[in-house]
Amino acid sequence: MHTDSENYKKYVNARAKKSPLAKDCLRAFLVGGAICTGAQGLLALYKGWGMEKDDAAALVSVTLVFLTALLTGIGVFDNIAKFAGAGTLVPITGFANAVSAPAIDTKGEGFVLGVGAKIFSIAGPVILYGITAGTLYGVIYWIINTFF
């Protein structure tokens, strides 16, 4: 009998069924790839309508965020994500879902203490450390360009 905690943890970890890595990777590749391919198609479409490349790229992101928020709102996105895993998490769709899901979920607690306070409860770390890293990178870039 494993009475000691370390042995028990080892035993539990060894017997716990792992997530099916190959299947998850394949699904993530297919769905994530499909999203990116679709986005590339949108970019071509928007440029075909006469937009500048930068404007078209920004509009592609806006379109993906909008579609994700819509699918999250009608309760479909979580089912897609359950199938796709990192395939929907890694593109901007994951970020949009991480913001829109708490917004829907917390409206019972009101627009200030619910939605306002908790909308970034999942995406918050990404925003905080993303901006911090971006700022640091900017400072380093400025130092290198100015003095060297």
């Binding site: 539990v12 716990a16 069924k17 979580d78 796709a84 899901a101 917390t106």
Partner: protein, 343 residues
């Protein structure tokens, strides 16, 4: 003394029971045994999930009182618990009843905790006691995991919180308030209880609560069998709730290693309530409501019909909070034992 089996001075009859479940639980293998369900969206007509959970408790207790034609004044006390912060599922759900109220928290062990304390109360103070519990998948997800519509995957060892509420009517008198759905009804009664002791074997993964709770279930079972001198085959069933697939298998392995072979008579409420493979419920059901509705709905029906005569019900709970998990603390488990018999 306090660590021993407590033999009740007289039998405490489970004189009635009532269950309310969500649509997925109703669609599961035990669906026909549950009294009420929400056919649509599990909101039970409420605008938040927390209110929905309270409404389920109100319905469970209300239908028990309605069927038995008992008044609030006929009940000596209400013991109730749920998974929400500060037990508001119970407090708000049972607000409309004019009955002395005790709020309980024992995580998924709350049904057994309520039966232990309720039967002790009925045996000492006397009269009738109602023990109730609830859990709701959506309110529990919000509290313990992610917002409802967040897209993510869970590992195979994770369990699924049951949307369910149950109420048990405990009485020191022999009386029955069940629907007349069995012939020659055998009336279930509680004769012994054994409070659980918290056991922490260092598991800190909230997605593997079966592993966190199995050692507590083993501890209670070992204490029970060593003191009673009985062997597992003296019982028709040793039912844990809810270790799920992973925890059940750990419990049986360890019990065998300790010289107690329970595999032939062991079952787990978390493994019974869903068709886990077909509905993608991973390691099975969990939550206060799981063992409560399986016991109140299915097990008591089988006992009343005479197909089960003597069972040990072990409610197992993982006593963590989202904050204790974030702070890296390991998860203590607990298992309260109730012996229910018609023999």
């Amino acid at each position: 003394m306090g660590q021993s089996i407590i033999k009740l001075p007289g039998p405490i009859y489970i004189a009635g029971a009532s269950t309310v479940v969500g649509h997925e639980e109703f669609a599961g293998p035990l669906g026909e045994y549950f009294d009420f369900h929400d056919p649509k969206d599990d909101t039970f007509g409420m605008d938040t999930w927390e209110k929905a959970e309270s409404e389920m408790q109100r319905m469970a207790v209300g239908s028990l009182l309605g069927r038995s034609k008992l008044k609030d004044g006929d009940i000596a006390a209400l013991f109730s618990g749920d998974l929400l912060n500060q037990c508001t599922g119970s407090a708000y759900g049972l607000l409309s009843y004019n009955i002395p109220f005790f709020g309980l928290y024992g995580a998924c062990s709350t049904a057994a905790e309520g039966l232990c304390l309720g039967s002790l109360y009925a045996a000492t103070v006397g009269g009738r006691v109602i023990s109730a519990v609830s859990s709701h998948y959506c309110s529990a997800e919000r509290q313990f995991r992610y917002p409802m519509e967040y897209g993510g995957q869970r590992p195979p060892t994770a369990q699924w919180t049951v949307t369910g509420a149950a109420a048990f009517l405990l009485s020191d008198q022999r009386e029955s308030y069940y629907p007349r759905d069995v012939e020659n009804e055998c009336l279930p009664r509680i004769t012994e209880v054994m409070p659980g002791i918290s056991v922490d074997r260092g598991i800190s993964d909230a997605n593997n609560m079966g592993a966190a709770m199995a050692p507590a279930a083993l501890d209670t079972l070992m204490r029970y069998f060593s003191e009673s001198g009985l062997s597992p085959d003296a019982f028709d069933l040793i039912v844990t709730g809810d270790l799920g697939a992973e925890g059940s298998s750990i419990l049986c392995d360890f019990a065998r290693a300790a010289g107690l072979d329970i595999a032939a008579v062991h079952t787990d409420c978390g493994n019974m309530i869903y068709d886990a493979a077909a509905t993608d419920k991973h390691a099975g059901g969990s939550g206060c409501g799981c063992s409560a509705v399986v016991t109140a709905g299915y097990l008591l029906h089988e006992m009343r019909a005479g197909r089960l005569r003597d069972i040990l019900f072990l409610g197992t709970g993982a006593l963590m909070s989202p904050m204790s998990v974030q702070q890296g603390q390991s998860i203590p488990g607990i298992a309260h034992l109730v012996r229910i018999t018609t023999a």
